[in-house]
C-alpha cells in the first residue's frame, strides 16, 4: 500500500530546490515515525516518489509524494483493539511511532481512505510554507504520478501589466496558429512552439504586482512553464510569482486529480497546533 500525500509550497520555501524538498520530506516522515519502506542494499534510502518536478522559485498548491508503507504498518479494522471502532469500515489504521491514525470519518472513501490526523502531523513536521492538504491510502497499482500527470494548472502574474492589456494579449495568443518562444535548456537556447501546449489561458484579475492569469498547460512530452508564455504575452514585462494549482491526470472519466485536499485536515491541524 502507498500513502499519497498532497502538499503545498508557498512563501519563502519556494526557493528551495527539488533535492532539498526530498530531504525535507524525508525528515518529516521520520519525525512523524511513518513506517515508509527503504530501498535494499549497502546504503538503504527511504523510498519516495514525487510528482512532476516544480521549477525552483514557483509556488504550488498541488505537489505530491508517494510513500510505500512497509508490510505490517497497517492494522485492519477487525484487528484493532477499540481504535476508531466508529469508522471501522472506512479502512485500515496506520501505525506510526508518534501515534496511530485512522481514516477520516468526514469524507469516507473506501477506495482511497483519507488520514486527516496524519496529514496534520506531517504538516507540523514540515517547514513553514509546506502544508499537507491530504494523505490518502492507495493500493499502489497503476502508473507512477510522473507518468500519469498530463496537464498542470497554473496561476501567475505579470509585473506591471494592466488587466486590459493582458486580456488583449491572451486573446492574441489564443488566436495565433503558432507561438514560438525561447527557453534555455541545458545551457543552450532552444525555441519551440508552445501554442499546442496551451489548453486554457485566461485573465482572472490583478494582484498587487499586475495582471493575474490562470492557465492549463500540457505536461507531456515536457512540462511547459508559465514563464515561457510571458515573452509572447508581454515582452517588456517580467513574470511575478507563479503557482501550480493542480496536476491533472487523465482517466476514462476525464480530467482528475491524484488526490483532492481534505476539508478536515486543516481543522485537525488547527486542533493539534492549538
Amino acid at each position: 500500500m502507498r500513502l499519497r500525500v498532497r502538499f503545498s509550497k508557498t512563501g519563502k520555501i519556494r526557493f528551495i530546490g527539488h533535492r532539498d524538498v526530498a530531504r525535507v520530506a524525508e525528515r518529516a516522515v521520520r519525525r512523524v515515525g511513518l513506517p515508509v519502506a527503504y530501498s535494499e542494499g549497502f546504503s538503504p534510502r527511504m523510498r519516495m516518489s514525487f510528482g512532476l518536478a516544480l521549477p525552483t522559485g514557483y509556488e504550488s498548491d498541488g505537489e505530491y509524494v508517494e510513500l510505500p508503507l512497509i508490510d505490517g504498518a497497517m492494522l485492519e479494522a477487525n484487528a484493532r483493539d477499540g481504535v476508531g471502532s466508529d469508522v471501522a469500515a472506512a479502512g485500515p489504521a496506520i501505525v506510526c511511532r508518534s501515534g496511530t491514525h485512522v481514516p477520516c470519518g468526514d469524507e469516507p472513501d473506501l477506495d482511497a481512505p483519507s488520514y486527516c490526523t496524519l496529514a496534520a502531523a506531517l504538516s507540523e513536521a514540515l517547514p513553514v510554507g509546506m502544508e499537507v492538504s491530504c494523505a490518502v491510502l492507495t493500493d499502489g497499482s497503476g502508473q507512477s504520478l510522473q507518468a500519469a500527470v498530463r496537464t498542470c494548472g497554473w496561476r501567475f502574474d505579470i509585473v506591471g501589466l494592466a488587466e486590459a492589456a493582458a486580456t488583449k494579449a491572451v486573446a492574441d495568443l489564443l488566436a495565433a496558429g503558432t507561438v514560438v518562444t525561447e527557453r534555455v535548456h541545458k545551457g543552450e537556447t532552444v525555441s519551440s512552439d508552445v501554442r499546442p501546449s496551451v489548453e486554457l489561458l485566461q485573465v482572472v484579475g490583478s494582484s498587487n504586482r499586475g495582471a493575474e492569469l490562470s492557465a492549463v498547460l500540457s505536461a507531456t512530452p515536457r512540462v511547459v512553464r508559465p514563464s515561457e508564455l510571458v515573452p509572447a504575452l508581454a515582452p517588456e514585462h517580467d513574470m511575478g510569482i507563479a503557482r501550480r494549482t493542480h496536476q491533472w491526470t487523465c482517466g476514462a472519466a476525464g480530467r482528475a486529480e491524484p488526490a483532492v485536499p481534505s476539508r478536515c485536515a486543516q481543522r485537525q491541524k488547527e486542533t493539534l497546533s492549538g
Binding site: 525535507v24 519525525r31 515508509v36
Partner: protein, 637 residues
C-alpha cells in the same frame, strides 16, 4: 522552528559566521550561544553568514546591508555583532562583514551608536591580528561569559548609550573574566621585537585567562539543533560527547587550549541523541569531540545510538540510524567499535596518524605505532568498509625525507591490508602543511616555506608511484603560508589583513579565491617581513604576541614539552596517568571528568610504549641552535 523575538528593549546579538551559510550553519559553538541567549528574558540572538561574492555584489549595488537570516534585520541594528573564528583565513571575511554591516572596520573609528564587534572561537587565543578591528574577544568556553557580557551591555543599553560612554563600557567588559578588550592595552616594540603589552588602566587585567566550563553535564546544548532546509556540510545531528583532549599531540592547538577532558555523562548523551533524532528527523548522528574513540564506553554508546530510534512503532529500524565518529584515534578504534558503527549505514572513516614514521610521531607525541594503525585498518576492512582516509601533516619539526616518504609506505600497507578483504579497497592520503599554532609546544618552531612543503608533497607523490589504490590529496602550501601570517602574527599584521581585504581578498579559505601574492604584496606594503613572521624559529625568552592571553598552560610547561619533543620524549595522557601540572586544571581548580580510569585499549597512551626512548634529532633543530634564533631578521612596522 525557533523564532527570535524582535524587541528593541532586548539586548540583541547578531551571531555571525564569517563564511558561507553552507559552511557556517552546522557550527555548534554558534548554535549553543544562539540558544542560550534566546532563552534569556532580556536578550535575543539572530544569525548571519558571509554572503558569497555574487550576493555581496548585489547587496552593495542595491545598498543593502548585511542582515540576519532569521528576521532579515539589518546588522547595524544589533547591539553586538559577534564573530565565530574557527580558522585564520576567514579574517578578511570578518572585516568584510563589519563593512557590509555599515560599521567602521577599525574599532577606534566607531561611535557610541555603532554595534559592538565581538569575536570568539579557537582563533581568539591569538587575538592580536584582529585587535584593531574587534572591540572585545571571548577566550575559551562561551557558555557562561556570554551571559555576563549581556548583563554589562544590557545595562549600558538601558542607560541610553550616551555619547562618550563607549570607552567606559569597553573598560567594564575588560573586567569580565575571559574577555579581552584590545583597546585597553598598550603595545610596545623594540624594532621588530614585541617588548610589552600593558593594560591602560589598573582595573584591566594584565593576563586574560580563558574561561572553562567545569562540567558539560550542566550544558546540554544545543537542545534544539537547527535543521536547515537546504544542503549544508555536516547535515546531521551533532552531539558533543566530551570537550578537551589530553592526548598531548604537540601540533594540536585544540588539544592544548581546551583542557581538561570533560566527558558528558553517557545517560545525557543518550538522551540528547534520542531526543535530537526525534525532533530533527535526521537519520545520522555525529558523536563529536576531539577524539571520540577515547570516550569511556564508546562501543556501548555507539550500540545504543544505532538503536536509539528503536523501541517505538514499526517505523523504527535500528539499521536506519548511522553514526559518524569524527577524529578517530587508531589505538582506540577496536573491532568492537567498528562492529557497532558498521551496523548502520557506514559513513566515511578517517584516521589521523599525522606523521609517517614512529620517530616523528614521538616528536609530535602522537604515540601510535604502525601496528596500532594496521589493526584499526584491519578492524575497519573486516567490518565491511572499503575506503578510508588517512590524514597526515608535513613540515613538522625535525621532519627528514625518510619521515615524509614513510607516509607513502604506511598508506600502501593499509591499502594492501584492505586488498585481503575486498578488491575495492582504497586509501586516500590527505596531506596538510603544518602551521605552528599559539599555545602549543610548537609555537616556537619556524614554519616550512611553501616551496619546501611543495617539495615534500612531491616526495610523497613519487614514493607512492603508480599505486591506483592510494589517492593523494594535499592542501595548497601557499595557503599554509598565509595561515602562518595570521596564526602567529602580532597587532601589526592587522594592517596586512586589512590590505588583503581592501584588494578584494575575501573567502581566502576557498582555493579558487586564495591568492598568496596578495598576502605577500600586503606584507611588503605594510613594511612587514613575511619570513620573520612565518618561517623563523622563536627563542625561549622572546615575548610572543599572545603571551598576555592565558590558555591555562604554564609557559615553562610548553617550553619543556618543546624540548622533550626535540629529544624524542613522549608524554603520557594525564586523564589516565598522574597529573604533570600543565596548568589547565591546577590554575582553575577543576579537573578531568572521565568515567573510565583506563585508556580504551590499555597502556598510558593506549600502546604501552616506553615513552622515554629518545631518538635521533637532526642537528639544525637542537635547542642550542634555537637559543640563537630569536634575533629579529628585520622588518617590523
Amino acid at each position: 522552528m525557533q523564532r527570535p523575538r524582535v524587541d528593541s528593549n532586548l539586548t540583541s546579538w547578531l551571531l555571525a559566521y564569517p563564511d558561507t551559510y553552507e559552511i557556517g550553519l552546522p557550527n555548534q559553538g554558534l548554535q549553543i550561544l544562539y540558544e542560550l541567549l534566546n532563552e534569556r528574558p532580556d536578550a535575543t540572538a539572530e544569525r548571519a553568514y558571509a554572503p558569497w561574492i555574487d550576493l555581496e555584489a548585489e547587496m552593495r549595488a542595491h545598498r543593502l546591508p548585511l542582515f540576519s537570516v532569521d528576521t532579515h534585520r539589518a546588522a547595524g541594528e544589533f547591539d553586538v555583532i559577534a564573530f565565530n573564528l574557527s580558522a585564520e583565513l576567514v579574517f578578511t571575511n570578518v572585516l568584510n562583514c563589519i563593512d557590509l554591516a555599515g560599521v567602521p572596520v577599525r574599532s577606534a573609528q566607531r561611535s557610541d551608536a555603532d554595534p559592538l564587534i565581538g569575536a570568539g572561537g579557537h582563533c581568539a587565543f591569538n587575538p592580536e591580528p584582529l585587535a584593531d578591528f574587534v572591540d572585545f574577544f571571548v577566550v575559551g568556553d562561551g557558555e557562561e561569559v556570554v551571559g555576563e557580557i549581556t548583563d554589562v551591555v544590557g545595562a549600558w543599553k538601558r542607560s541610553g548609550k550616551r555619547a562618550g560612554t563607549r570607552e567606559g563600557l569597553l573598560r567594564d567588559l575588560a573586567g569580565i573574566e575571559g574577555t579581552y578588550v584590545p583597546s585597553m592595552y598598550e603595545v610596545s616594540y623594540d624594532g621588530a621585537q614585541l617588548v610589552e603589552v600593558t593594560p591602560r588602566y589598573p582595573d584591566v587585567p594584565p593576563l586574560v585567562a580563558k574561561r572553562t566550563v567545569a562540567d558539560l553535564a550542566d550544558w546540554p546544548y544545543p537542545r534544539r539543533q537547527l535543521v536547515p532546509v537546504t544542503e549544508v556540510v555536516h547535515d546531521r545531528l551533532s552531539v558533543e560527547v566530551f570537550r578537551g583532549c589530553t592526548r598531548g599531540c604537540r601540533f594540536c592547538q585544540a588539544g592544548m587550549i581546551t583542557r581538561p577532558v570533560r566527558e558528558r555523562p553517557a545517560a545525557q548523551v543518550r538522551e540528547m541523541v534520542s531526543a535530537g533524532l526525534e525532533r530533527s528527523g535526521y537519520d545520522e548522528v555525529s558523536l563529536m569531540s576531539l577524539s571520540t574513540a577515547d570516550y569511556s564506553g564508546i562501543a556501548e554508546l555507539v550500540r545504543d545510538t544505532v538503536t536509539a530510534g528503536a523501541g517505538g512503532g514499526a517505523a523504527t529500524d535500528p539499521s536506519r540510524i548511522s553514526v559518524s565518529l569524527p577524529s578517530l584515534r587508531v589505538d582506540a578504534f577496536t573491532v568492537d567499535v567498528a562492529a557497532q558503527v558498521s551496523r548502520a549505514r557506514r559513513t566515511g572513516l578517517t584516521f589521523a596518524p599525522e606523521a609517517g614514521s614512529w620517530r616523528l610521531r614521538q616528536i609530535i607525541n602522537k604515540l601510535i605505532t604502525e601496528e596500532d594503525l594496521y589493526s584499526a585498518v584491519r578492524s575497519a576492512y573486516s567490518q565491511g568498509w572499503h575506503r578510508m582516509k588517512l590524514y597526515f601533516l608535513t613540515g613538522l619539526p625535525s621532519e627528514m625525507d625518510p619521515d615524509t616518504e614513510a607516509i607513502a609506505h604506511l598508506a600502501q600497507s593499509c591499502a594492501r591490508i584492505g586488498q585481503e578483504y575486498t578488491k575495492r579497497a582504497s586509501v586516500t592520503v590527505s596531506l596538510g602543511g603544518f602551521v605552528p599554532k599559539p599555545h602549543t609546544p610548537f609555537q616556537w618552531f619556524g614554519q616550512n616555506p611553501p616551496d619546501e612543503l611543495a617539495r615534500k608533497v612531491r616526495l610523497v607523490r613519487s614514493a607512492l608511484g603508480r599505486n591506483r589504490r592510494v589517492q593523494l590529496k594535499w592542501h595548497d602550501p601557499a595557503a599554509s603560508t598565509a595561515e602562518g601570517i595570521a596564526s602567529r602574527g602580532d597587532r601589526r599584521v592587522g594592517a596586512a589583513i586589512e590590505y588583503v581585504w581592501r584588494k578584494g581578498g575575501t573567502f581566502q579559505e576557498w582555493s579558487e579565491r586564495f591568492d598568496l601574492t596578495l598576502w605577500e604584496e600586503a606584507m611588503a606594503a605594510c613594511g612587514l617581513d613575511l619570513d620573520w613572521y612565518v618561517h623563523r624559529h622563536r627563542g625561549e625568552h622572546e615575548m610572543l604576541p599572545w603571551d598576555h592571553i592565558g590558555a591555562g598552560l604554564h609557559r615553562d610547561f610548553l617550553w619543556q614539552d618543546w624540548q622533550d619533543a626535540l629529544a624524542g620524549h613522549g608524554l603520557p595522557d594525564c586523564r589516565w596517568t598522574p597529573c604533570y601540572d600543565c596548568g589547565a586544571c591546577t590554575e582553575y581548580g577543576i579537573e578531568h571528568i572521565v568515567a573510565s580510569p583506563v585508556a580504551p585499549n590499555g597502556g598510558s597512551q593506549g600502546t604501552g610504549q616506553d615513552l622515554a626512548t629518545g631518538h635521533v634529532v637532526p642537528v639544525e633543530l637542537r635547542p642550542r641552535q634555537l637559543a640563537g634564533a630569536g634575533a629579529p631578521a628585520g622588518g617590523g612596522a
